[in-house]
């Protein structure tokens, strides 16, 4: 019994040792490409996936090895960049929340990626016709009782964005004196499920959403269902502190200093990458339609050779 187990171990270890030996012998034979191995953070929303995947595919074609790591947006990802776990955020909505990290130096702001984000509150599209004026924030209180649920404590349910996303719902409710209660939905999935179900069953719903997004294709009429709030009054300091609506946000790229200083072609791609909301929506729609992100990205790359070439210049 002892003998066999020893043999087993001997055999198993000889397999292992030869495996290691092969690693050692043949690693040197395959020359590493100049671009190197880099990481890109993957965030939850489809639009982000589209941008990140296109960047990944372009870099791979240049001989880069790109590791995608799924990360919660914001602080978690900045920390991951500081730790060297990942190198690039291709679309950040944070409007300066990275300040502490960029101050420390390991993370640098690369610049705008061309997309412009506009967050807002949307009612289920069927309600627009049925309840005239509902998309004007002044009329919201009139319809508040429609939005009551078992969870909203007698007020209208105001479904907030996921925990990591920029939200000012509570401030908007206060500033606009609305009879609504901000409800923490937790994830994008929760919002999608809420709005699609409400639209299908003709039930009321008021959700947080944003452009650019393919949800506008999936839920027709959603673009017309945005509730219009009064613009923030920046002229008056007292009023500016009570935010009434989301501002339009140019979306930013961030990367590690290590990458940007490396001279790698990947750094060049990240620096130059720029496209429009329509570009992103095209790729995102393909992914949503069931194409793998890789194939969707390659399809767009093939269709836009000039643009890609400009990123590499």
């Amino acid at each position: 019994m002892k003998l066999t187990s020893r043999r087993k171990i001997a055999l198993a270890s000889s397999v292992m040792i030869s495996a290691f030996a092969m690693t050692a012998t043949f690693q040197s034979s395959s020359k590493a490409a100049d671009c190197g191995t880099w990481g890109i953070a993957m965030h939850a929303w489809n639009g982000y996936t589209a941008s990140a995947q296109v960047v990944t595919e372009v870099a791979k074609a240049q001989g880069c090895t790109i590791n995608q790591s799924t990360l919660t947006e914001g602080g978690t990802t900045y920390d991951a960049m500081e730790a060297g776990t990942t190198d690039v955020i291709i679309e950040d909505w944070g409007g300066g929340r990275w300040q502490k990290w960029t101050d420390r130096g390991a993370v640098v702001l690369v610049g705008a990626n061309g997309n412009v984000g506009k967050i807002g509150m949307f009612v289920a599209p069927w309600m627009v016709k049925k309840y005239p004026g509902i998309t004007n924030s002044k009329n919201l209180n009139k319809y508040a009782s429609l939005f009551k649920t078992a969870d909203s404590g007698g007020k209208g349910a105001w479904f907030e964005g996921p925990p990591g996303y920029t939200t000012i719902g509570e401030k908007m409710i206060k500033a606009n004196k609305l009879k609504f209660k901000a409800i923490a939905t937790g994830s994008e999935a929760a919002l999608i499920s809420t709005i699609t179900k409400a639209e299908k069953n003709k039930k009321p719903a008021l959700i947080y959403w944003w452009e650019p997004s393919t949800l506008f294709v999936k839920v027709p009429g959603l673009d017309k269902a945005r509730v219009n709030f009064p613009k923030n009054d920046w002229s008056d300091a007292a009023k500016a502190s009570g935010l009434t609506d989301y501002p339009a946000t140019p979306l930013e790229k961030l990367a590690t200093k290590k990458l940007m200083d490396s001279g790698s072609v990947f750094a060049k791609i990240v620096k130059n990458f720029k496209w429009t909301n329509a570009d992103q929506n095209a790729v995102a729609a393909d992914i949503e339609g069931g194409m793998t992100p890789e194939k969707a990205a390659q399809k767009w790359i093939k269709a836009h050779p000039a643009q890609v070439k400009a990123w590499l210049a």
Partner: protein, 645 residues
């Protein structure tokens, strides 16, 4: 006499709760300490600043330079060696050092050498299955992370377990720590760990170890302690030194159970590696979580399926290795010779396959030309759509009833009443249920929660935990009785219970979300699904262990089935019921945090938010700490109450 007293206690409690309810109505929404989602308290600000200072110091503080950073770099390096070997292409090579064929061959060979050929075939099939699901790379990452965490866990757990097995003092020292690690909801320590070991493989590995090392220690020490004492005493009586007795008697005899402990450690590590995707652990957790956040149930299900395949594979393979030596009698000479031959041939084949997989890229990267993932994913999505669109009117009705009739009243009592009133009521309840000591502990823990400023959110989470536990117990006890009384029920339900325990909670979060929408009830339902297996298992075990003679006596006395259940089996397994309630509550609390992803609000939501929004980092950390306080309070009260019962 005693019965009368009990009945009176029951009346007392009814009156007590009625009074509580009435008071909460009178003082509704006063001094609730409700805090806006984005608001901080002075305490959370202090914690946030401290966290900021810690992360700012990572590069130069000696604590980091000489302690945390070396540990992080060591673990990162260790994980990377394993990942480069099987999971990720490195050094410009197009595929990992050992390609898919090599990995399958080596794992099959190891299984064959330690177990039976059937297990080896199962391993091959399941690994091919993961590949066919399009999850090969993620599966390998998960395996690599699990392997790294398990090796490190065992390197710590087995020696500590042996130590605790030999010394009562050490066991006494370890026990509270092990208990705490068991109550701690998994998501709670991700954020503080990330603060010290940063986001990445190291934090993920350490978090996994925090979860799996206690299991390894517990089982190893139990293995040593539960040994038949007589051979140990015999060895000492013959003048063996402690070392001799340990190496020649205790370890060989405990070996089998220690291997079983390895099995448990592997399973714990695997289940955690999936969750650790939240702090950038590579592997199958990634698709599961992104499926949750962007609602692609199908893709999440495919990844979850791969997790289950890996779980079954690892479970069967490691437990088969443990079971193989059930008796201490080894095989005969001819059996050994045959086995040796098989193993040698398999070894040669494995070696060949490994070498081939290194050089031939087709054998290195799993082929993606046959795709079963898309049909499975699409089928799942249409099934979920069916549920969401055509069944949810039923479920939403049910949800509303529970929310309005149960959830809201309890929330009114706990969260929407003045905080000091709730606190007082809890302390009185603990005094009656569990005695002075526990009442005092409850007072201290709840005061601490109040002091953090997150009282309101804590009460929201507690409400959900209580409601989820109540519902879990109703369903779990019923199923447990069924399982305990009928072998058929047991074998019918067991696969579901096992799968329920290995399936990461994220996977079923999305379909449940579809059924109930982003509400508190979705988190509750997730908690129920997650904790029912453990409750059913404990209750079933309790019912089964009621002595046959008691049931025979009751039957002989002319009891019917209902009487046997209510008058014999349930009272006799009271302890198991109490344990089930306690465990159920701890399990529920663990996923209520995850419920933050689907609208539970409360502490879980704050924890998740804290990891993204720098300005709320402190609040998130404090929320995690409050969950811990809640867990300890629940556990202590439940245990003391069950001791009294």
């Amino acid at each position: 006499m005693y019965r009368k007293l009990l009945e009176r206690k029951g009346y007392f409690f009814l009156g007590f709760i009625a009074l509580w309810y009435a008071l909460s109505k009178i003082f509704f929404d006063k001094a609730t300490w409700e805090l806006g989602i984005a608001d901080n308290t002075s305490f959370t600000n202090v914690v946030g600043d401290a966290a900021g200072a810690i992360s700012g110091n990572r590069t130069h503080s000696p604590f980091f330079v000489y302690f945390f950073n070396p540990i992080r770099l060591f673990i990162n390096g260790f994980v990377d060696i394993i990942r480069n070997l099987i999971a990720t292409p490195s050094n410009g090579h197009a595929a990992p050092t050992i390609g898919w064929l090599g990995v399958i061959a080596i794992l099959a060979f190891i299984t064959l050498a330690t177990s039976r050929i059937r297990m080896a075939i199962l391993v091959i099939t399941f690994l091919l299955g993961c590949g066919a699901l399009g999850m090969w790379a993620d599966t390998m990452d998960t395996l690599a992370m699990t392997l790294a965490a398990v090796l490190l866990s065992l390197a710590i757990g087995i020696p500590c377990g042996i130590w605790a097995g030999l010394s009562d003092r050490v066991l006494k020292l370890f026990t509270p720590i092990l208990d705490l690690a068991q109550i701690l909801p998994t998501m709670v320590y991700l954020a503080p760990l990330a603060l010290f070991f940063m986001i990445g493989e190291a934090s993920a590995t350490i978090a996994t170890m925090i979860y799996s090392v206690p299991i390894s220690i517990r089982i190893t020490s139990h293995a040593i302690r539960s040994l038949n004492f007589s051979p140990v005493e015999a060895s000492i009586s013959m003048g063996a030194t402690k070392k001799q007795t340990l190496s020649k008697v205790q370890l060989p005899m405990a070996k089998q159970m220690i291997v079983l402990g390895v099995n448990q450690t592997v399973m714990a590590a695997l289940s955690f590696v999936v969750i650790a995707a939240l702090i950038a652990a590579p592997g199958l957790g990634k698709p599961v979580i992104s499926a949750l956040t962007i609602q692609n149930t199908g893709r999440g299900f495919v990844a979850g399926l791969a997790v289950v395949l890996v779980a079954i594979m690892l479970d069967r393979a490691t437990s088969a290795a443990a079971m193989k030596q059930k008796a201490f009698i080894p095989p005969t000479e001819s059996e050994k010779r045959r086995k040796r031959l098989n193993v040698s041939i398999a070894g040669a084949v494995a070696l060949g396959a490994t070498i081939a997989s290194h050089f031939v890229t087709a054998l290195g990267n799993f082929p993606d030309n046959f795709d079963i993932a898309t049909p499975i994913s699409n089928a799942t999505n249409s099934f979920v759509n069916f549920l969401v669109n055509d069944v949810s009117f039923l479920t939403v009705g049910f949800k509303d009833i529970i929310s309005i009739r149960v959830l809201n009243p309890i929330e009114d009592m706990l969260a929407r009443a003045p905080w000091f009133m709730t606190l007082t009521m809890f302390v009185i309840a603990a005094l009656v249920l569990a005695g002075k000591r526990i009442a005092f502990l409850t007072f201290v823990l709840l005061s601490a929660i109040a002091a953090t400023g997150l009282w309101f959110d804590a009460m929201i989470t507690l409400t959900q935990t209580i409601v989820a536990t109540l519902l879990t117990m109703i369903v779990g006890v019923a199923l447990g009785i069924w399982v305990g009384r009928s072998k058929r029920a047991d074998s019918l339900l067991r696969p579901f219970l096992d799968a329920g325990q290995t399936m990461p909670a994220f996977v079923y979060l999305v379909p449940i979300l579809g059924l109930f929408g982003p509400t508190r009830f979705t988190a509750i339902a997730t908690g129920i699904v997650y904790s029912i297996p453990v409750v059913v298992k404990i209750v079933g075990e309790g019912i089964r262990s009621v002595p046959e003679s008691m049931i025979e006596a009751a039957t002989a006395a002319g009891s019917n089935v209902r009487q046997i259940i209510t008058k014999v089996q349930l009272p006799a397994s009271k302890r198991a019921l109490m344990l089930a309630a306690n465990q159920g509550m701890i399990f529920v609390l663990a996923v209520i945090v995850i419920g933050g992803f689907v609208g539970s609000g409360g502490l879980g939501y704050i924890v998740i938010m804290g990891s993204s929004k720098p300005e709320l980092q402190g609040k998130g950390l404090v929320a995690g700490f409050v969950i811990l306080l809640l867990g300890v309070a629940i556990d202590r009260v439940a245990q003391a109450a069950s001791r009294r019962a």
